[in-house]
Amino acid sequence: MKELLHRARAALFGAEDSVCLDRARLVTEADRLFADDPPPLKRARTFRHVLLNMTLDLDSNPFFAGNTSSAPRAWVLMPEFGMCVGGQVALEHEELAHHLDDLVPEEIVAYWKADGRSAGGSAGLGHLSLDWEFVVTRGLEDALRRIAGYENDTDPVRGVYRRAMTIACEAVMAWAGRYAQAADRAAAATADPELAACHARVAEACRHVPGRPARNLFEGLQAILLVHLATVLEGQGMSISIGLPDRVLARFSGEVESEPETAVDWISAFLLGIAANSYQGRGTKSQTVTVGGADERGDDCCNALTLAFLRAFDRTPVSDPALFLRWHPGLDEATWDTALRMLSAGRSMPLLVNDQQVVPGLRRAGMNPKDAWEYCIVGCNELAVPGRCCQSALCTGLYFNDLAVLDGAVRQVAGTARSGRDIVEAFAEAFAVSAEEGLARREATNSRLADRMPFPFCSACCRGCVEAGDDLLRAMPYSNVYGVYTRGTSNAVNGLAAIEEEVFRTNRCTLPEYLAGIDAGDEDLLARVQAAPKWGNDDERADRWAVFLGAARDRALRGVAERNGLPPFTVCHVVRSLHHLDGRRIGPTADGRPGGAPVGDSIGAVAGTATEGPTALLNSVLKLDAAQWFPGIYNLNLTLPAGRQAAPPVLRALGEAFFRDGGQELQVSVLDAGRLRAAQQHPDQHGDLVVRVAGLNARFVELSRVEQDELIRRAEQAAA
């Protein structure tokens, strides 16, 4: 088993990104075949056409059935949306920026360009976690039975949508059946008894799941993997999550207790199956696994599966999916110990999230207690509840760079502001105006996508959609909870602190003169701005502006929600590598940042400005009312040098103190600058080095030079 697992891992890590045209060809064929069908039926029949004709690959990873393309890391094209390389993917991997050039046959490109057939983007909205409890414990046949229960509903629109769901679910079961037959043939054809056993196990499982409830751990994992990959083949791209697998599979924890090594091996192979089939190869970095946490009674939910998932991630350090651990005061000690050892060893996983801040935030956004306690992470670090809400529905169109909003506001009131608080008020007003506009865009986008590009299979696996006979973007229980993405918050705080110091406290210059100096690159002014108090040093002179800013944004968003008859927005501080992209789009700003330079890479200190150490940084962040101002979660990176400062007891002390006193999320990177430099020079020797960049995990050797250099700088600063 170890040897087979080693080969599967080598096949993945050794694979260069390529492009698989299977799906693109099949979708294009189907679009012609079903051109006259209403969108839900066209999408379902297209999905079926893909699943019945896709190449099956049981060789790359013989442990599990499920592949979205013909080879590991071959990109899955989704021409019905578009065929482009995302800006973040291009930034993180320069070599992939033109990956699709000349690889897609002209007839496919031309077909989708004509008549505006593509819906835009490069895939569905993602940021979704299906109802995995339903997938594992009831199976797709249960959805078919529930759909059949609505045969007397005469509404034609709902009828069409439910018919589409039926076609889609039956297609996934048929796809599993194809794997069962292929695995039977493969078992008979091989002389290797271990491999034959693998194939036989897959064949047996695929005859049963995901149509019916899983009977054992292996079938549970197989069901999840097939359905997860089916969501990709239906057209979802980035940021699809398998939710809380230790909870969903808890009924099989006895198997893990009796054969823990086998379970860890299976889970490792399962993770490789997800990693090998992400839709844009190494560019996809936002599939997630969440474990641990408490339930609504406060009881710890850890079980043998929790530890097995941690150990599998430790043993098989894939960069995607990323592992998140939900912390709470009663977290299982063995789980917590293992997590701390992994972080101390520089694994960059798990990322830690505090139930005690996240759940109250979700409750404020209108979720009921049971649902709020079942949250998971989707995407970089966004929140969702499996099968009940979809973060993409929350966020489309409501993207903010706090620094850009502040920059606009400060220039608008430069002639009239008498204090920093006046600027904050202008910030709030600008934020509210932009939020109103973003909300209108979001509603238009979601409505257009739900009508034109529905996802009947994903919808059948989410709550409320079968009953409503409608798409998940409209029918999930919390589809009216909208979210806001923010970035650049730390820079905005530094800008306000510098203005306060320079303009309003010392009166060295007027606000217009200050802005003119910033724009002109006045070296004397920039030196003073550099010396001004900075966020992340537990310095009230800077930190108070974070409090003012957070409260002002919250006030503005509450007003927008109330005016539109909506529950409170969620706010998510998310960066991935957008801190680079955002920075490129804005000129010099009040914090002294040069035009085009990146904004902060987390809610922590801007690079190079934390001089007081990690406790001061965490203290600054603790001044934020996380549940109130970031009910969608913030993104906090803490970098420590390898060695004594990152020993497990130290990480435990930092993490527990931070979380007990109101910290919401903590992403610990333990970096050794020497090893990073060595990996940059000799990538072949450091393939297993996984790092946390800003909002993503990645194998260091696969990052662009820009990202590698940034990490080396972070490591050097942490060790200074």
Binding site: T615, A616, A653
Partner: protein, 242 residues
């Protein structure tokens, strides 16, 4: 600036210290020291009138330090007074330690012990752990290198050891070309033995300070291991604080 008995002359404060006592600590580096050890890594703290220093009232300083209390509690850490030489400011240190004691903060004093016995006595009731530096077992070498009085150091060490309830660790800075030879280590061992022996000894290897225009005090890992082995017979344990 007026300087009262409850004020301290503070060179700098370092948070998240892991080498100056148990757990996560905040270390207060006090300004001013009567010694002039040529290997000193904090030479900027020697003069008592440095421009960068600030005078802070003990109560206010305690409040400032307490911002990190949550990490001390979660790690078993606290506050360490170092320097410079804390015993040069006994009144202020006692006031600060007393204020921290009221909040049940673990308090540590890192001292060379070369001060009047009265200064030491003022801090004893308010100190949970002493980090007592022992640089050499040779009075002449000590006087030449640091300008200090080893007899007074050893007397103070003896009285601390004799005091009921005092927790103490010996710290030995390992300095290349000063105390790493066999004879020096043996003499240090004898001092440990005379002070009661059987206690934890921490070796603090010197670092490369040639960049500051002085000769290097850096020791190799092999030299540390040899010192560790040589001193182990005199101590309950010998740890190297890299």
């Amino acid at each position: 600036m007026p300087f009262t008995e409850t004020q301290l002359n503070v060179g700098r404060i370092q948070r998240f210290c892991l080498h100056d006592g148990p757990g996560i600590r905040s270390t207060v580096f006090l300004q001013g020291c009567g010694l002039h050890c040529w290997w000193c890594q904090n030479a900027d703290l020697r003069p008592s009138d440095a421009a960068a220093a600030r005078q802070v009232d003990a109560a206010a300083l305690a409040e400032e330090l307490l911002r990190d209390e949550r990490y001390w509690r979660s790690s078993g850490g606290g506050v360490t007074l170092s320097g410079g030489e804390p015993l040069c400011q006994p009144e202020g240190c006692a006031a600060l330690l007393a204020a921290l004691g009221c909040r049940n903060v673990h308090r540590c004093v890192d001292t060379a012990g070369d001060a009047p016995a009265e200064a030491l006595e003022m801090l004893v009731p308010h100190t949970d752990l002493w980090l007592f530096d022992l640089k050499t077992g040779s009075a002449a070498a000590y006087h030449d290198a640091a300008g200090g009085d080893l007899g007074r150091v050893l007397e103070n060490l003896g009285s601390l050891v004799a005091s009921a309830g005092v927790d103490l660790r010996l710290r030995i800075p390992l300095v290349a070309g000063f105390n790493t030879d066999d004879a020096s280590l043996h003499a240090l061992g004898e001092c440990i033995r005379k002070s009661g022996g059987g206690r934890l000894v921490e070796l603090v290897p010197g670092h490369d300070i040639r960049a500051e225009g002085r000769r290097s005090v850096a020791v190799t890992r092999e030299e540390c291991a040899r010192a560790q082995e040589a001193l182990l017979p005199y101590a309950s344990a010998v740890e190297v604080c890299w």
